[in-house]
Symmetry: C2
Subunit: 159 residues, 2 copies
Amino acid sequence: MPCEVQRVMFVPVPIGHVHSPYNDTTSIPKGLGARHDAEGALEIIPEFELGLTDIEGFSHLFVLWVFDRSRDFDLIGTPPCDNRPHGVFATRSPRRPNPIGLTVVELLRREGRLLHVRGVDMLDGTPILDIKPYLSGIPTDSLRRGWLTEAEAAQQMTP
Amino acid sequence: MPCEVQRVMFVPVPIGHVHSPYNDTTSIPKGLGARHDAEGALEIIPEFELGLTDIEGFSHLFVLWVFDRSRDFDLIGTPPCDNRPHGVFATRSPRRPNPIGLTVVELLRREGRLLHVRGVDMLDGTPILDIKPYLSGIPTDSLRRGWLTEAEAAQQMTP
């Protein structure tokens, strides 16, 4: 097939890139209890800067980005925080049919087309696809967290 | 240019489609106080069904999907719930540089490769890009909701 454009639903374009302290995946905190409080920045490319208008008013943002150093996908995989395999759609594995990552970050301040944020878990240079305001959460008491709850319980029993 | 593949970061593929009661955008509740408790289903295509393994344990899911009936984008636009324009990245407008939508749904039950869910706000037939477990929320008291809070206050003052 000379060109895959026919099956393309849209052509993803980077709206910017992530500045992160992480240069390789092994340095990103993973697994149970991993805290993502690393500070970084979202640098939006000049042609999209106008789209940031009024973003300063939001404390938290959804960032959609590309696992650009991930190739191919696995429908079943064992995450770092469990010893049992799970379906890719029940995990945050980078090896997904569409290699899109999703992170909630706290917006610390805006400096032109740089958004200084806390909570980055992406590699430095990661392409950003979209930013959306984070508007609300699901109350904790109505949230079930699947296999993760069991994995946490198992880990707590291990000294 | 015969083929746009060179600037493609990845080629989006649908992993399934949304079954929704909404057939046109005007029927989707929008604006302030809009409740999204419509029930629908996420139908995953057979080749990806294995990726749903263990998803039953999660009460809420992130669904990433394509605004497939939206063309082009606006960096600034006036959302239905305000009379002031805002940057696209501070809104949920369908007219985005990458036309990706994000919805949190409640998983009611799984039936093979059908996920019955509550909270759909997509059109019937919308292509799904990804499903991820929803793991936690930002505590309400540390959340700021930008221009939306002001728009809500203005609306409450209008009889």
